[in-house]
């Protein structure tokens, strides 16, 4: 009797706290959340924090910090603080549209691959194909067709993330559907689709959460890189990438012009990376 009750008692004593929450409540997770939260908050409160229109040109070009312009102005006399804050908003809306879209598309393809061997083969080659255009080369190819702009940037980020989400989920599905509970569900009379969606999928999504945090930082990187190549969001709308690329020419005369967006970008990407690491450690236990 006592022998039988031991594993049961162990199961009862399982920590109630979610593993993701446990991962995030480490120093890595907290500092990551704080960095991203701070930057996001600044972006959200852009109209409150700075009254200036980010695209309004003024007479004082490349002016230093002053009462009217707390961070000074850029080469066209636009308020730098306002441009940085609105740039955060643009970047965040782009990556928060693109990353979920990429995740859903990747997951859908991975589930499709789980239905038959033929589908699996096609989907795998499809992932290989996208991956064989490393990073920005894919961006160049897509913007070659669609031209520069906001939506092409979203599409490039989403497309670049599809194979990463897809491969992770496919690997998880392959492992999980051989487990006893999946077999039990099949024996219990559940159809293939139900087993895949209701039983296998919820147990295979763990890696996707970590991948999501990584993808957000990659999104900031791709947006900036495309802006650098003149293929990103069209001016005058500010993005973090276009602010940095516009500041390069004035590095020696107005270093603040580069420093402000550089600091914000670094904080954002570092924050996402720390969150991804803490989630990864939490999931691994």
């Amino acid at each position: 009797m006592t022998v039988l009750s031991v594993p049961f008692a162990g199961a009862l004593r399982r920590p109630v706290r979610n593993r993701y929450v446990a991962g995030l409540l480490t120093w890595r997770g907290v500092s990551g959340l704080a960095l991203v939260g701070l930057v996001a908050l600044a972006g959200l409160l852009a109209p409150v924090l700075s009254g200036a229109d980010p695209n309004a040109q003024g007479p004082e070009a490349l002016a230093g910090p002053s009462g009217a312009h707390p961070l000074g102005t850029d080469d066209l006399g636009r308020d730098l603080l306002s441009r940085v804050l609105h740039g955060i908003g643009t970047d965040l809306t782009i990556i928060l549209t693109a990353v979920p879209a990429g995740a859903v598309a990747g997951a859908a393809l991975a589930l499709l691959a789980g239905t038959s061997r033929a589908a699996d083969l096609v989907v795998q080659r499809l992932f290989d194909l996208v991956l064989s255009f490393p990073g920005l080369i894919l961006g160049l190819a897509v913007t070659a067709v669609l031209g520069p702009g906001r939506w092409p940037v979203v599409i490039v980020i989403a497309l670049a993330e599809v194979p990463y989400f897809g491969r992770q989920l496919r690997a998880g599905v392959l492992v999980q559907r051989e487990r006893e509970y999946a077999l039990a569900a099949r024996v219990g009379g559940a159809g293939r689709a139900r087993v895949l969606l209701r039983h296998v999928l919820p147990n295979a999504v763990d890696p996707l959460v970590v991948q999501g945090a990584v993808a957000l930082s990659v999104g900031v990187f791709i947006e900036g890189a495309l802006s650098f190549l003149g293929l990103g969001v069209r001016p005058p709308e500010p993005t973090l990438g276009s602010l940095i690329s516009g500041a390069v020419a004035y590095l020696d005369t107005a270093p603040l012009l580069a420093a402000a967006p550089l600091g914000v970008t670094a904080a954002l990407v570092l924050g996402f990376t720390l969150i991804a690491e803490s989630l990864n450690r939490g999931v691994r236990g």
């Binding site: 080659r125 290989d128 194909l129 064989s132 255009f133 490393p134 990073g135 920005l136 080369i137 160049l140 190819a141 913007t143 070659a144 067709v145 031209g147 930082s217 900031v220 990187f221 900036g224 890189a225 650098f228 190549l229 003149g230 293929l231 990438g241 940095i244 690329s245 500041a247 390069v248 590095l251 020696d252 270093p255 580069a258 550089l262 970008t265 670094a266 990407v269 570092l270 996402f272 990376t273 720390l274 690491e277």
Partner: protein, 314 residues
């Protein structure tokens, strides 16, 4: 070894063929006709038709695709539409510059990552182990365009030690070329070096936790010898796979780095081709990058099987 290669080759070729098809179709989807662009705003319909015929754009798509594939296979890529000159000449110049940059970066990746990983793995729980982790996280988290601008700001603008941008061929003026190479190569290498250091350190730590290491320690083998002779060979194969994947990232990253440092490589050529609607240049270049990527994957698998005899037996 040969059977291993034979097994890997077909899937690489499938990817290559699919990529050629994707690249070809993608460029045909571009709004706007290159013949109209080329002929200029005031050209007569007859002149545009003549240009279309000369470029082979009046043929059916399937015929155009096969014609292009034939050109690629024979190595005669024909003239570019807008940039001027033969495509193969343009690509050749670009490759020379980009190869210098990526090879220098690759060398830096290994030179930076291996000592950091060895140091980190031998640090155990000492305080500077955490500092090393923080360093690699930092290098990993900052995008190349951010490091690039920072490097220019510090070394070129403030300290005036190195040029902010430009290019010299290693063959003509080695001392100048090294100065021009230093900043872009470092900028390109940092994120990849951080990733490699991470993987190698994880591999080393896992190897150091194995039973054979305990046995070796019990037999009185020195820590250094265990690290170099026992842990490193076991951690190396997966690190080589990561390095192979990073080569693709280096080539892709080179596009941005070339832009920051005014480096006349493949990245600038693709960018020009895209912006000026030069079909032949863009499609040949994209295919070349994919081919390079597939080749590196193949070489990586080969290196893996050479380092890890267990894979060869499969």
């Amino acid at each position: 070894m040969r059977s291993f290669l034979l097994k890997r080759l077909p899937s690489g070729l499938v990817v290559l063929l699919a990529a050629s098809f994707a690249v070809f179709l993608m460029l045909r989807l571009i709004p706007g006709d290159p013949a109209t662009t080329l002929a200029g705003p005031d050209a007569s319909p007859a002149a545009i038709a003549a240009i279309r015929a000369r470029l082979g754009l009046d043929e059916p798509l399937a015929a155009q695709y096969l014609h292009w594939l034939g050109q690629v296979l024979t190595g005669d890529l024909g003239p570019s539409y807008a940039i001027g000159g033969q495509v193969s000449g343009l690509i050749g110049d670009g490759i020379a510059a980009t190869a210098q940059l990526t090879l220098a970066a690759l060398l830096l990746v290994v030179v930076l990552a291996v000592p950091v990983a060895l140091l980190g793995a031998s640090a155990g729980r000492r305080p500077w182990a955490g500092a090393l982790r923080a360093l690699t996280t930092g290098a990993l988290a900052v995008p190349p365009f951010v490091t690039g601008v920072l490097l220019v700001g510090v070394f070129a603008v403030s300290l005036r030690l190195l040029p902010a941008g430009g290019y010299a061929s290693l063959g003509d003026a080695p001392d100048l070329a090294v100065q021009y190479l230093a900043l872009p190569a470092l900028c390109l290498a940092l994120p990849s070096a951080a990733i490699l250091a991470r993987y190698l350190q994880d591999g080393l730590e896992r190897a150091l936790a194995e039973d054979y290491v305990r046995t070796a320690t019990a037999l009185g083998v020195s820590r250094r010898r265990i690290l170099w002779r026992h842990a490193l060979p076991n951690a190396l194969p997966s690190a080589v796979t990561v390095l192979g994947l990073q080569v693709g990232q280096l080539v892709a990253g080179a596009v941005v780095v070339e832009r920051i440092f005014a480096w006349p490589g493949l990245g600038q050529l693709v960018e020009q081709g895209v912006q000026r609607r030069d079909y032949p240049v863009v499609q040949d270049l994209l295919l070349l990058v994919v081919a390079g990527y597939v080749t590196v994957q193949l070489l990586t698998d080969l290196a893996y099987s050479w380092l890890d005899p267990r894979v060869r037996a499969l």
